[in-house]
Structure formats: structure tokens, C-alpha cells
């Protein structure tokens, strides 16, 4: 992996005495290539390598007896730093019913994640979640969430045809308020960040139900476009966090670094499979070495 490559690059140098900026540049080039291969965004990589270079030119590497090891340590630390070393627990501190709204591109895993979240909150957090199917466009989307709700024994709002998503969410909140549901999870339709009409729809839903948490659901295998997508969704909705799905594949997951770097918003969960128990709380270590390669 990259650690071996970097050690080799910087070990060769030891024989000739002190490290030079040229040696560091060579090592940085390895890091850059690895991150680009991991799908980290081109500009995010440039910024990241820049900040690593600043540290690498300091004494901790230049005067170290094992510069290769020191360099790898810095890169790893900087990566953890950007990904978010703070706790990224889901913030549910709000008067019930606490609304959680899931948004994102088509097919990213919102409906499945909504159900996973409901299961997680019910089974491990002793909550009583209410699932709301607010996707009126995709064929059988409402059925899909109802089936999943049935599988985990969670109540689901009976979305009717002919009602717009904002009204659906508003009515569902009313029902939740009157019943014992302390969490409401809104599953929205997948949409393009450049579809103004549908982005406005999201804003309308938000203004109607003021969800306490708006989570962007993003696919771990997303490429360079992760920056465009997350920036747009964040600008429109001021997201509270991100769920990175399909982490059970072998995508390096560089999109995680891109998204965190450009939005500053924390990654909260990983989706790690198709089953409804496949949801893990985010931990930067879990993805840092994977991205670095």
C-alpha cells in the first residue's frame, strides 16, 4: 500500500544525509496519486497535499531518524483531521417529535437508510420512530418503505396519491405529535442537485416541518462529482450530516474526504450492506486507511 511506497521513497534518501524539499515533493506526489485513485476530488487533493507539505517540511520529518514513518504518520493524522475526529453521534436533542430528513441523488440508498435508522433508533436507542414516505415520483417507492417498515416493526405514514411531499410531511408530523412517536424520519425522492424545481421542493418540506437533522445520503463509490453534489445540497439545505452508503463494496471512498472538506459537515453513519442492521456509526479510522490505500 501507500505506507510501503512512502517508506521506500523516503528510505532511499537516508543514505545521502538530510532530506531535501525535493524528496518531500516526491513523497507528496505518491500521496497525490493515491488519493486521486481513491476518487478524492482533484481540488481537495491539491489543498490536502498543500497542508501535508507544510507539516512535512517541519522538523518532525526532516530531522527524524525514520522520515518515512514520520511522513506516513502526518498524512494519516491530516486525513483523520479533515474527516472529523469529533464525535459524530446523531443529534436528537429537540422537543419530540424530532424530525430527521434524508436527501440525496437518485439511488444513493435513502429509503434503505431511512429504515436502517428507524431500526437503529428503535432497537438500540429505545425510541419510537415514525417513517414517512415522501417520494411520490418513483414507481412503488411508497410500497418499498412500507415493506421495510413492516420488516422492522416500525409504524409508517400511509401516504396517499395526489398529495404533495410538503403536505405529506406536515400531515405525518401532526400524526406523530398526537401519537407516541418521538422521532419522524422523512424519506424524500432522489433528485439532481441541478434540478431547481426539486431542490425548491426540499426547501419547502424543510420550511413546513423544520427537521432537526437533515442528512445527505451519498454513495461511497461517488467520483469527482461528490464535490458538486454535496456543495449544492448543502447550500440549499444546510445539511447537518452525511451518511455514506455501500461501504461494504471495495470503493476506496475518497468521496468521504471530498464531501467533508467542502461542506465541513460531519459524516454520521456508514451503510454497510443491504440488510437493515447494516448501519455503523462513523469512525474516521474506519475509512482513513482505506482512502489512503
Amino acid at each position: 500500500g501507500i505506507s510501503e511506497k512512502l517508506n521506500t521513497t523516503l528510505k532511499r534518501v537516508r543514505g545521502y544525509g538530510k532530506l531535501s524539499e525535493k524528496n518531500i515533493d516526491e513523497a507528496l506526489r505518491e500521496v497525490r496519486l493515491s488519493l486521486l485513485e481513491a476518487d478524492v476530488n482533484f481540488k481537495v487533493v491539491r489543498d490536502f497535499v498543500g497542508s501535508v507539505k507544510n507539516r512535512a517540511l517541519g522538523t518532525e520529518v526532516m530531522e527524524s531518524l525514520s522520515p518515512g514513518q514520520q511522513f506516513v504518520k502526518i498524512v494519516h493524522e491530516e486525513l483523520i483531521n479533515v474527516l472529523g475526529s469529533e464525535s459524530s453521534e446523531l443529534d436528537l436533542k429537540s422537543a419530540p417529535p424530532v424530525g430527521i430528513m434524508l436527501i440525496g441523488l437518485q439511488g444513493s440508498g435513502k429509503t434503505t437508510t431511512a429504515s436502517k435508522l428507524a431500526k437503529y433508533l428503535k432497537d438500540t436507542q429505545k425510541r419510537n420512530p415514525y417513517l414517512v414516505p415522501a417520494d411520490i415520483y418513483r414507481p412503488a417507492a411508497i410500497d418499498q418503505l412500507k415493506v421495510l417498515a413492516g420488516q422492522i416493526g416500525v409504524d409508517v405514514y400511509d401516504t396517499q396519491p395526489g398529495v404533495m411531499p410538503a403536505q405529506i410531511c406536515k400531515d405525518a408530523m401532526e400524526i406523530a405529535r398526537k401519537s407516541a412517536h418521538d422521532i419522524v424520519i422523512f424519506d424524500t425522492a432522489g433528485r439532481l442537485h441541478i434540478d431547481n424545481e426539486l431542490m425548491d421542493e426540499l426547501k419547502t418540506i424543510k420550511s413546513e416541518v423544520s427537521p432537526h437533522q437533515v442528512l445527505l445520503v451519498a454513495d461511497a463509490m461517488t467520483g469527482q462529482d461528490a464535490v458538486n453534489v454535496s456543495t449544492s445540497f448543502n447550500e440549499a439545505m444546510d445539511i447537518d450530516g452525511v451518511v455514506l452508503t455501500k461501504m461494504d463494496g471495495d470503493a476506496r471512498g475518497g468521496a468521504a474526504l471530498s464531501i467533508k472538506a467542502v461542506t465541513g459537515k460531519p459524516i454520521k453513519f456508514f451503510g454497510t450492506g443491504e440488510k437493515l442492521e447494516a448501519l455503523e456509526v462513523f469512525h474516521p479510522d474506519r475509512i482513513a486507511s482505506r482512502i489512503l490505500g
Binding site: G107, P139, A140, D143, V147, G223, E274
Partner: protein, 278 residues
């Protein structure tokens, strides 16, 4: 002394940014640079317009090398299997493809081979009704291969022109699920010689370098005859298909440009290459 012809770093930086940001990937981008430095005269390597034009031609050459033909039913029933990882647009693409083929006067049947995911068969049934095709569903939880088997039998007895089989999304890293696909292909081939006549891999244009691994693994398992690249109506460029054409010789046959029935187009390499440089 002959000095090595090289594009000046500063000039290349902009091109590298464009290509990488279009998801061509580091390897393909470096390869393209090397080819240009070999083919172009030293003088040309200093001119940005010449470089851009040469890049487009080079990419086009790679894509033409993996040229595909649009789907034509050359036997009856003509069987198409559709596969790919989760959420890329298989089921929607089948609706669109069925619509297109029906407009070309084919008698189409779609089979709901995803017996696993919640409401997957209902989803395909809605598309089938909208298009007006025959529809065959499996029971939930049933072996997908037996659904494919029934579908081929039904297509033969009902004199169907084209049968399209939907499959559940699956990550290429899951061996048992890839085995399930191989088994479906074997079962279909045993029931009808030469079937499936087309095996399409659906790729999402927003996917990064992992698309290459997806293509490799699905190709090893099923011998992919063509790719459908979906969600090109977004801002992603889908540049990974260049590496896939180069390394695996698999052509893109169609592109998905939206969520309605008419949002499927035959792949046009020239238009695709032009769009990379907007």
C-alpha cells in the same frame, strides 16, 4: 542530441484537471499524455488548441476501438439480461429500453428477476404497464434463476420477440451473489441456446474509479456485451468508460439522461467526448 518531447507542466495542469475531474482516472490521463507526447511534433505540444483537439481524437480512438451495436433482435425470443451494482438504474433502464424496442415494433416481455429487494417486482410492473409489455413476476424470495427459467419458457410459448430480465442489484465483491448471476445465465442458456443474447451492465455516471472494477468483475462473471451509462443528466461526466473501453473492450450501447421512458439514447462517442471538455 534528441530531447524528450514533453508538454510543459503548466500547460498540462489544466488538461489534467479537466480529465481527472471527468473521472478518467490517473492511469488513463497519464496514458493519454504519453500518447500525445509520442504522436505530436514538439511545436504542437506547446499549443493548447492543438493539444485539446489531439486529446479528443485520442479519446475517440479508444472509444471507437470498443464500438458497440445497438440492440437488434436477430433471433426469437431475443433475451437480454441486465445486471449491475445497487441503485445504478437497472429497473428504470429496462422500462426505457422496453419502450424504445416496442416503438421499433418489437413484441416485448419484461421479467422481474429481483425477488429480493422490497417492492422491486412492483416497481418493474409499473414500468411494464406504462410501456405496455408482457410482464412475468417471480414470487418474493424465490430463486431468481427459476424466474429466469420461467420467463424464457413463457417467452418461447407466447412467441415474444424480446425478453428483458431484471436482476437484483449486487456488489461485485459478493461472491455468492455473483455466483447467483452466473447460475441465472447458465439456466437461461440451457433453456434457449445462445441466450442471453445480450448481457448489459448498468453503470452510474456518478461512480468513480470503482466502475472499472465493477466492469471487470461483472465481465468475468457474465461476459458483458454492452454498458448502459445512466444519470448523465447530472453533472458527472462518466469518464471511467474510457478506461473500460481501453482495458476491457466493452462498448457503451446506451446512455440514461433522466427518469422518464424516453430518457434513453444510443451512445454517441463524438458527443460524449465533446461534453468532457465543456
Amino acid at each position: 542530441m534528441l530531447s524528450k518531447k514533453e508538454i510543459d507542466e503548466g500547460t498540462w495542469d489544466d488538461f489534467e484537471e479537466t480529465l481527472i475531474m471527468s473521472d478518467l482516472g490517473v492511469t488513463t490521463t497519464m496514458k493519454l499524455r504519453e500518447r500525445l507526447e509520442t504522436k505530436l511534433a514538439k511545436k504542437s505540444l506547446e499549443d493548447e488548441e492543438t493539444i485539446e483537439q489531439a486529446l479528443k481524437e485520442e479519446i475517440l480512438e479508444i472509444l471507437k476501438g470498443a464500438q458497440g451495436t445497438p440492440i437488434k433482435a436477430v433471433s426469437q425470443p431475443f433475451v437480454i439480461m441486465v445486471a449491475g451494482v445497487n441503485g445504478v438504474g437497472k429497473t428504470t433502464t429496462i422500462g426505457k429500453l422496453a419502450h424504445k424496442l416496442k416503438q421499433e415494433d418489437n413484441n416485448v416481455m419484461v421479467a422481474a428477476g429481483d425477488t429480493f429487494r422490497a417492492a422491486a417486482m412492483e416497481q418493474l410492473e409499473v414500468w411494464s404497464k406504462r410501456v405496455g409489455t408482457e410482464f412475468l413476476r417471480g414470487e418474493s424470495g424465490r430463486d431468481p434463476s427459476s424466474v429466469a427459467f420461467d420467463a424464457v419458457k413463457a417467452a418461447i410459448s407466447k412467441k415474444i420477440g424480446i425478453l428483458i430480465i431484471d436482476t437484483a442489484g449486487r456488489l461485485h465483491t459478493k461472491d455468492n451473489l455473483m455466483e447467483e448471476l452466473k447460475k441465472m445465465k447458465r439456466v437461461v442458456g440451457r433453456e434457449l441456446e445462445g441466450a442471453p443474447h445480450e448481457t448489459l451492465l448498468v453503470l452510474d455516471a456518478t461512480t468513480g474509479q470503482n466502475a472499472i472494477q465493477q466492469a471487470k468483475m461483472f465481465n468475468e462473471a457474465l461476459d458483458i456485451t454492452g454498458i448502459v451509462l445512466t444519470k448523465l443528466d447530472g453533472t458527472a461526466k462518466g469518464g471511467v468508460i474510457i478506461a473500460i473501453a481501453d482495458e476491457l473492450n466493452i462498448p457503451v450501447k446506451y446512455i440514461g439522461i433522466g427518469e422518464s421512458l424516453s430518457d434513453l439514447r444510443e451512445f454517441n462517442a463524438e458527443e460524449f467526448v465533446e461534453a468532457l471538455f465543456y
